[in-house]
Symmetry: C2
Subunit: 449 residues, 2 copies
Amino acid sequence: MRILIVGGDAAGMSAASQIRRRQPSWAVEVFEAGQRTSYALCGTPYYLGGVVREIDQLVTLTPEQFARERGIPVHTGHLVTAVNPARKSITVKDLATGQSRDEAYDRLLLATGAEALMPTGLEPGPAGLFYLRSLDDAENIRRAMGKAKSAVVVGAGYIGLEVAENMVEAGLEVTLLGRQPAPIFEEELQALAAQALSRPGLTFRSMTDAVGLSPAPSGGLTVAVSQGEAVPAAVGVVGAGVRPRAELAAAAGLTLGVKQAISVDRFQKTSDPFIYAAGDCAESYHRLSGAQTWVALALGANRQGRVAGFNLCDEPEEFPGILGTSIMKIFGLALARTGLGLEEARRAGFPEAVKTVVKQHSKPGYYPGSTPVTVIIIADRATGRLLGGQMGGTLEGVGQRINTLAAALSTNMTVKEASGLDTAYAPPFAPVHDPVVIACEVAAKNLKG
Amino acid sequence: MRILIVGGDAAGMSAASQIRRRQPSWAVEVFEAGQRTSYALCGTPYYLGGVVREIDQLVTLTPEQFARERGIPVHTGHLVTAVNPARKSITVKDLATGQSRDEAYDRLLLATGAEALMPTGLEPGPAGLFYLRSLDDAENIRRAMGKAKSAVVVGAGYIGLEVAENMVEAGLEVTLLGRQPAPIFEEELQALAAQALSRPGLTFRSMTDAVGLSPAPSGGLTVAVSQGEAVPAAVGVVGAGVRPRAELAAAAGLTLGVKQAISVDRFQKTSDPFIYAAGDCAESYHRLSGAQTWVALALGANRQGRVAGFNLCDEPEEFPGILGTSIMKIFGLALARTGLGLEEARRAGFPEAVKTVVKQHSKPGYYPGSTPVTVIIIADRATGRLLGGQMGGTLEGVGQRINTLAAALSTNMTVKEASGLDTAYAPPFAPVHDPVVIACEVAAKNLKG
């Protein structure tokens, strides 16, 4: 049995490791266009700010370690240019020699990841303009930051906000362009994000799109915007979102699904019985809506790779699905979410979704360090079911709290049931009635009203 | 309709508030032997250490506030000396005048709380010996600490550990006597507790019982111990545990249950159809074992009071039950638990309970401030079910993390299901695979082995 894997990041290497463990005698080989495997892309913004000092700290395992310690050969610098389902082979180009060859598989895993969206007018090219999708990108940006005093960041989602924060911490004067700050959160939390962005060294221009760019006369670049004056800066980073990298799959005739991601079942199998897909290139099952969706989040990618590894070894294993749980830091503010937002819920088949917003404290008022926590609950009036939760507050106040709701959502609890959770209480940690519990209590009342 | 409530702390006042809200025209009156209502006993150790500056900060609502703001009369200084179910009355003694009278009820709630266990030889009496069961006790101890240089604390459970910590922080030389430190945790976490207790200003004498005490020649007291030298100290605090205060109920012929707590159903009804009980004096339904149990924890007491309030107003409401979730701080160490420990599980009808211990990090290794977290999972080999979880680590590492497991336990998840929880990931908060998720993965493997 020979299993080939296209892509050497989270999903691909998780699968490879499982296959090696479960079927030590089978051949498994990985083809990766870049030079690195298995790295923490989510850590790169913190490398820009110097919080992470060395880029190599972000590499979990190198290709050499995979080969030596796990017996998994990784062909780096090898770009897969075609999948040939009829012949059960892939066409591989060795980027060092320029030579192409075919490699035959019995089973194939596509783990090609996601790629940056590049809005019209913001294509890479000009000196000083960057996208952040690899450790190489991170090194190039940090190098450019060394001589820079100013930066422009396009996009106020996860990447844009984290990059802007870290550039401010590194001492640059930063202009951040976007519609709303942290748009995947409810508006009450977007307001907290806007407050956190209001600080020296940072100018957030909301409701502002970048529409073009040109080299600046004095060096660096100038970003043309949809309203107001153009923004000059020494360095520019675009964080406009990502999309699944599914061209190979599409060209091979595989079915694409949500947002043009590779369509898979919960066993990570594609429309071809010998081809699996996992990670950011593939769809994910959403536990709440019960529908396929597409999100690019690290835990899901790792898990899909693992699940694919089991199934590629004929051990049936089902992907548990995602809730879209995520968390981010914006200076001293933490924002977190799990499950569906209000509009998402209404679109996902819960027309009677109701939003409840409460503001509570992270600890009893008498204990030092108690901070406000805003908790938002999305619940279904028709069934009483908890559909989603979001939180904003200090890093400590929000940090792990969101996972209480993620766990509650995993089992289709009603908000009434969630209001009865037996949470931990002691003054240094939480109030008797945790903010999560109170928010669910209020939500349960709101459903009746 | 006239509803009387015996006891003005968490359970009693929660019930009174619900009754007032649901049936504004009904008479509801509270009888409380002390002078205070609704206060945070769990905050008192931090008053000893000066973390909480004023004792009044620990009072949520005073009797005057209940009367004025909520229309609930509270008779403080009134000791209930008998319940007369046949006449549907209670006998009340006004402690100020010494006069007794009968008060008739249509329905009665007993919320008499718990009282300190007083081991033989350690009865209160000698100057300098204290129990910590009220705000008055806390004020007396803090006053005694003012002139003291040394203290002895008897008992290494929650109260003993928190009192010892706060006395050390206040500058006293403290000797702590006990069997194991933090005995309600698994031994791996007891070892962490022992480490945390090994510090200047504190001597922990393990496997040592206090067996008697006498006034010291130089003032203060001397505690005789089961092994080694007697301990002299200026101040002594005994934290030997608590028991339900159920004498009134017993004398009235109500059925007692686990640990002589008042037997109740999930609607908080006692064996008398007109009498309810709630809080530390009553049994609690354990969500996992399905059996009645007895624990004295603040959240459960508040909730039982609330549930009793509904039922006293003829609105059926079921107590959701407890998991025994709790958390404590020992200097920089946090210990937390939910559900059943290994031995508890075996005794509670899960003879095939298996323990898994993992040590993980609170954040990715490359992000500053990542700290070790020990996670213990108790799971049932017969069914795969998650039965309990315990954790030890830094305050931030453990703080809210235990509630993820509490939520998972609430819905009878298997460890395999819990290993698929969609937890939040970002470098400043958690690793891709949260310690909880990894612990459940390892536990699922262990069940197969």
